[in-house]
């Protein structure tokens, strides 16, 4: 009997360790998702305008799932140490529910990330940047926020358009409706600015003389944070779930071994 007692104790130790790791990862997931939801790069209006915010839904679910994982890990540790069947049964059922939610969060974040192609942002920028005119007020405020986001993006990252300034020449746009082509082949935010915030040389910028305009596109500045967001929510959540799977299997085996 001593050997199986040792085996049970080893299993208990492993389960406690597994739950400690789950608790720590749960806290990390919550903290990370709060960071993403707080919109540190100011890119949220780009997604808000399309009414497809699944990648943010994934982060919101992640906040609550992370906290639930931490609470359930504490419950699991107590249940394993006390060898209490009821506690462990509650732990297993609630963990399964949390598992299902985290699965949903991972898959939606990964799927939505795939839909954020350069053409997606290009079409949105051309149709909405500096758009004025009729439309209901919620559309107008979305357009204003999108315009502000793009202005900040181009000024801070010293970039222009999605692929480059040629985006504004290849396609007609809401911007083109408002500003004539001769004065604004591309927005003035694409020009290199001096310390006062005005273009160093407007003529050089309009012609495209290197050194007076930003020649690279903004897609890298957008996709970098979006990729980090998707990796953080989808892949980190996936890693947690793999670990949780093993711990849950171990817990179920342990549950079946303890007596009434």
């Amino acid at each position: 009997m001593a050997k199986s007692d040792d085996g049970i104790h080893i299993l208990q130790g492993l389960l406690v360790f597994g739950n400690v790791v789950i608790g720590i990862c749960g806290i990390a997931l919550t903290a990370e998702c709060i960071y993403f939801v707080s919109n540190p790069n100011g890119l949220y209006p780009l997604l808000e305008a399309t009414e497809n915010k699944d990648i943010y839904a994934g982060a919101w679910i992640g906040i609550f799932v992370g906290f639930a994982l931490f609470a359930l890990a504490v419950l699991g540790i107590i249940g394993v140490i006390k060898a209490d069947r009821t506690l462990l049964l509650v732990y297993i059922i609630l963990m399964l529910i949390t598992y299902a939610f985290e699965m949903a969060s991972c898959i939606t974040a990964a799927t939505h990330r795939d839909s954020l192609t350069p053409n997606f942002f290009l079409k949105q920028m051309l149709e909405r940047y500096q758009k004025s005119g009729t439309g209901n007020s919620s559309d107008k405020s979305l357009d204003e926020r999108l315009t502000q986001t793009w202005d900040n993006l181009m000024l801070q990252n010293k970039c222009c358009g999605v692929h480059g300034p040629s985006d504004w020449q290849e396609y007609t746009s809401a911007f083109r409706v408002e500003h004539n082509d001769a004065d604004f082949p591309w927005p003035h935010n694409c020009c290199v600015m001096n310390a006062q915030g005005s273009p160093v040389s407007l003529d050089g910028c309009k012609l495209g003389v290197s050194g007076y305009y930003n020649s690279n596109g903004c897609y890298d500045a957008i996709s970098g944070p979006m990729n980090a967001h998707a990796w953080g929510v989808a892949w980190f959540g996936f890693a947690i779930l793999c670990w949780t799977f093993c711990v849950l299997l171990g817990t179920m085996f342990y549950w079946s071994q303890i007596d009434y």
Binding site: R113, F120, K123, Q124, D183, P185, F238, L248, Q257
Partner: protein
């Protein structure tokens, strides 16, 4: 007066790599250097003639500055002259800006002015240009016509397809399939464990069988004989308890 001298120079778009040298309403030409050196004098001016490509053959040099066709007359006459540059005292000026931007003055054309100006081009063209040296007596020298310059037309953004090139990339497939299979295994494990417990509880009452071999269980301790009712003493169990019968 003698006809203007025809110089071999052919105007062309700026060879520099400038993304703004050909837009929907403007284009940038290479500035000619000293091509009129032999013919010019201090009071002359170099003009740029812009004409639709199909109207360039019928263009006639204006005899004096007063008859120069204006920007506003482009739709009717098919040509105009602009970018007047005085030769000045130095016939071959030091290198200035390397390009001449045609169409850069958006204030032009708003009012029906009488001065030549450099307004944006109204249509994609194609256009042909040439340089004309005008003196007090009329044109003195001209360059050849350029090749036709066609301005680009922008397409509509509704033609852009925002969908990803490969639907369902490897990331999503890996995550979804692995998570789904893990979830299914977990659900099966829970159901089977619970089911086995329920089945054991229903079919095997009391002591367990070999299925739960290593489980330590307490045997149910069978208590000794039932306690006798008070007032009796020493009677064997099962016979009840009778008050001692009075002898008959």
């Amino acid at each position: 007066p003698a006809p203007p001298a025809l110089l071999p120079y052919v105007p062309r778009l700026s060879p520099m790599a400038l993304p703004g040298k050909l837009t929907a309403t403007t284009f940038a030409l290479e500035r000619p250097r000293c091509i009129f050196q032999q013919h010019s004098s201090a009071s002359d001016a170099v003009w740029l003639v812009v004409a639709f490509a199909n109207a360039s053959a019928s263009f006639r040099n204006p005899p004096s500055r007063a008859e120069v066709p204006l920007y506003q007359q482009l739709p009717t006459r098919g040509s105009y002259m602009t970018l007047e540059t005085a030769v000045g005292t130095d016939p071959c000026p030091a290198p200035g800006p390397a390009v001449l931007r045609v169409g850069g003055d958006t204030a032009c054309g708003a009012q029906a002015g009488q001065d030549p100006c450099n307004g944006p081009l109204p249509s994609p063209g194609p256009y042909r240009v040439k340089f004309l040296l005008m003196g007090c007596q009329g044109p003195k020298a001209e360059s050849r016509w350029s090749e036709p310059i066609l301005l680009p037309r922008a397409s509509s953004p509704s033609a852009i397809d925002p969908r990803p090139v490969r639907a369902g990339s490897s990331d999503v497939v890996v995550i979804s399939s692995l998570l789904a299979s893990l979830g299914a295994v977990l659900a099966l494990a829970v159901l089977s464990t619970l089911g086995a417990e329920v089945w054991a509880a229903l079919c095997h009452q009391g002591l367990g069988t070999d299925a739960f071999a290593r489980r330590s269980y307490r045997t149910h301790h069978i208590p000794p004989a039932l306690p006798l009712p008070t007032g009796c003493g020493g009677s064997p169990p099962g016979l009840g308890c009778f008050a001692s019968c009075p002898p008959a």
